[in-house]
């Protein structure tokens, strides 16, 4: 005797069958999200990296749609590595999921060469008010191929040293505007105590995490990834001294948990007063709060042999060459990167939130200078002096300051940074790590040696 007849037995199965049939029949109607309007409306999908600038763009997209009622914009946000993977896959396999995407200075030259992304110069030429010369030259160059712009910059950054003036003063340390790494190490040691670490440096494995600042250190110590014949150079004294310096600085005066410290962890540490200095992206200063915001000083990226060691990175909007919605996509990209957009962000969301590092005109706006003043100049200068074509003391066959602009670098950089992370964790020596890294890099170098 069945104890309950809480549901008639056939019904759930029947419902299920109906559901399945419905699902199969309605295959064309694919889901609940997105969907444009009817008639002449175009829907474009933008795959965007998750950072605050993009979050602001999402908030302001309504402004775009009210002035361009025939274009609907869907913005899909993903963390950087997921975004990069999805967009790369999409473009390489021509699947057309995205009509516009944020790509970095790493992808643009590579993909432009492969013909994967659209040359935007003709589109720019059609818009009289776009003012491409207003784009900061270093950024513009990094997003160009054969002198044509293949992506338009949305956000740009270099690297700089940020420090707590009060903490350094209390320890009797003054920081020059253009410090050397030795000076920074000495200062870090002096300020370092049991409650406050001298400096925060990224240790989190990843070609875009730990390797970004480390690479700039290698560059300024005189090292390079490959020589002109694509021989890997990781077994050179310059690499050894740079990596040893970086890791020793972390061990002696760096933050605890360095092996897992990325941008966010160091930002937290700096904001809560747990570290006195921080070498990282120029945009970091816009997130300072409390005491950190009131007492921070800014110096240019520390150097050793080579001047101006700051990195160069920009997130930009590009579109696939195979897109069928190029005009709509360009309309949006134009709107999001022209001079007026900065003013829109400033007036609607606050002048501190304007995207840094893209246009010279932004830095001339008095309200922006007032809000971002202290580090705006350092940002602008650092970007201006970062040269992706000549990042090192000796000439190199590749472009890229904090990365090597080749397809294999993502995997190579990740693997090499993992080996360094192991040194930080105490699992191997610098020599062992460099030996493994050299082997990995040599394999990659061979691909380019003919």
């Amino acid at each position: 005797m069945t104890a309950t007849k809480r549901r008639s037995p056939g019904r759930p199965i029947g419902l299920a069958i109906v559901g399945v049939v419905f699902a199969l029949v309605a295959g064309a109607c694919s889901g609940a999200g997105g969907g444009g309007g009817g008639g002449s409306s175009t829907t474009i999908t933008l795959a965007a990296v998750d950072n605050p600038s993009m979050a602001d763009l999402k908030k302001l997209v309504g402004d775009f749609q009210s002035s361009h009622s025939n274009i609907t914009v869907n913005i899909v946000t993903l963390p950087e590595d997921q975004l990069r993977q999805q967009v790369t896959q999409d473009v390489a396999a021509n699947s057309g999921r995205y009509d516009l995407f944020t790509i970095g200075t790493y992808e643009v030259p590579l993909w432009a060469k492969k013909g994967w992304i659209e040359n935007l110069s003709p589109y720019i030429a059609k818009d009289a008010s776009y003012a491409p010369d207003d784009l900061i030259p270093g950024i513009r160059g990094a997003l160009s191929y054969n002198n044509n712009l293949y992506a338009v910059p949305f956000y740009g950054e270099s690297s700089m040293l940020m420090y707590r003036k009060d903490m350094l003063a209390a320890a009797g340390v003054t920081m020059p505007d253009h410090p050397t790494w030795d000076q920074v190490a000495a200062a870090a040691q002096k300020v370092n105590s049991s409650s406050v670490s001298g400096i925060c440096l990224r240790g989190l494995p990843g070609w875009g995490e730990q390797l970004a600042p480390l690479d700039t250190v290698v560059n300024t110590f005189g090292g390079r990834w490959f020589d002109q014949n694509w021989n890997a150079q990781l077994n050179t004294p310059q690499w050894k001294s740079a990596v040893t310096f970086y890791i020793n600085l972390l061990k002696n005066a760096g933050e605890p948990g360095a092996g897992n410290a990325g941008f966010t962890e160091c930002l937290n540490a700096y904001n809560s007063g747990k570290v006195a200095m921080w070498y990282d992206a120029t945009v970091a200063a816009s997130f300072f709060t409390g005491d950190a915001a009131k007492n921070s000083g800014y110096a240019y990226a520390p150097t050793k042999i080579k001047d101006w060691s700051g990195w160069l990175w920009a997130w930009s909007l590009g579109m696939p060459s195979s897109s069928k919605k190029k005009d709509a996509a360009w309309t949006f990209a134009d709107w999001a990167t022209n001079k007026d957009y900065a003013k829109l962000v400033g007036t609607k969301l606050g002048w501190g939130r304007v995207s840094p590092g893209t246009r010279t005109s932004t830095y001339a706006i008095p309200e922006y200078q007032a809000a971002a003043g202290a580090f705006a100049q350092v940002t602008l200068d650092s970007i201006a002096h970062a040269d992706v074509a000549h990042p090192t003391v000796d000439p190199v066959p590749y472009i890229g300051v904090q990365y090597v602009d080749i397809d294999e670098f993502q995997q190579l950089g990740d693997q090499v940074s993992q080996e360094f992370a192991k040194v930080i964790a105490g699992g191997q020596t610098v020599d062992q790590a460099l030996a493994k890294a050299q082997a990995l890099a040599t394999t990659v170098g061979k691909v380019y040696q003919h």
Binding site: A16, A32, G33, N51, P52, T264, N268, N271, S272
Partner: protein
């Protein structure tokens, strides 16, 4: 209930002691989730403060930020994919489990092994080929295609689980049904289903949770129209700037529907206990 008579003979403190032990264990397991829910009501600086903020004034600020975007479509898509795939697992899996437990087919062992062998291939190996196939079939960004993939992932699990629960049914119940002249369908429905209600509830819950939380197939096979809750969630992991409170808020929201499903499944599990006693 006869068990209370037995309980009275034991020391009452034993119940208290075991309850305390149980609650301690549950607390340890539940704490990270509780902590995440707490983080959701903090501001960003509070959420990542050093030392951690224990006492604070709750705010809905981060929830507002999370919900200011367009989140319902993500949740609807997740619900569609999860519920559809779970239903499909039950529809396909119950008869299959029956065929492997009650009236076994000849090569049951091989069939069972085949089912689990489909889970041996790591997703990253077959994903690109599958992705290209979906592209060619125009099935990218299609929630029903995603539901079909989830069914595949969960079906071996469902078949094995349901088979085990079916094996627990005493054979005499089937004899009784057969003598009554019941055919296969009646047998299944009148006898089997109510008895393995806890099993069906547990299986459904597990399948729902797996489908709801699945990220990698979702992110590879969808873009905007069919994007699911996990994609909405990771969209708050920012490379520049603090995000823990927002992530916690989004994760709290995302876990509410499955929590509800778990609560419903609880009732079925409790029903099962009642069944057992009446037996």
């Amino acid at each position: 209930m006869s068990t209370t008579a037995v309980a009275r003979r034991q020391f009452p403190t034993s119940k208290v002691v075991w309850s305390l032990v149980g609650w301690l264990v549950v607390f340890v397991f539940f704490f990270p989730v509780l902590w995440m829910w707490l983080e959701a009501f903090k501001t960003e600086p509070q959420a990542a403060s050093s030392p951690p903020t224990i006492l604070f004034v709750p705010t809905l600020e981060e929830f507002q930020q999370v919900m200011s975007g367009d989140f319902p479509p993500f949740f609807i898509n997740s619900a569609t994919a999860s519920i559809l795939s779970t239903l499909l697992v039950l529809v396909l899996g119950l008869p299959a489990a029956y065929a492997l437990a009650i009236r076994p087919v000849k090569r049951t062992r091989d069939v069972l092994f085949f089912f689990i062998s489909t889970r041996f291939l790591p997703f990253a190996a077959s994903l690109v080929p599958l992705y290209l196939l979906a592209r060619d079939l125009q099935l990218l960004d299609n929630i029903f295609a995603l539901a079909a993939i989830y069914t595949t992932i969960n079906l071996p699990l469902g078949v094995w689980l349901l088979r085990s629960f079916l094996l627990e049914i005493p054979p005499d119940l089937f004899e009784a049904a057969r003598i009554d002249g019941a055919g296969f369908r009646n047998e299944l429905v009148r006898v089997v289903v109510p008895l393995i209600a806890p099993g069906i509830a547990a299986t459904s819950l597990i399948c729902l949770i797996f489908s709801w939380n699945e990220f990698f197939y979702a992110v590879n096979f969808t873009s905007s129209t069919a994007a699911t809750a996990p994609i909405f969630l990771v969209g708050f992991i920012s490379g520049r700037g603090l995000f823990y409170a927002k992530l916690a808020a989004a994760a709290t929201l995302a876990s509410l529907p499955v929590l509800l499903a778990g609560w419903i499944a609880q009732k079925q599990l409790i029903r099962g206990l009642t069944m057992g006693a009446v037996k």
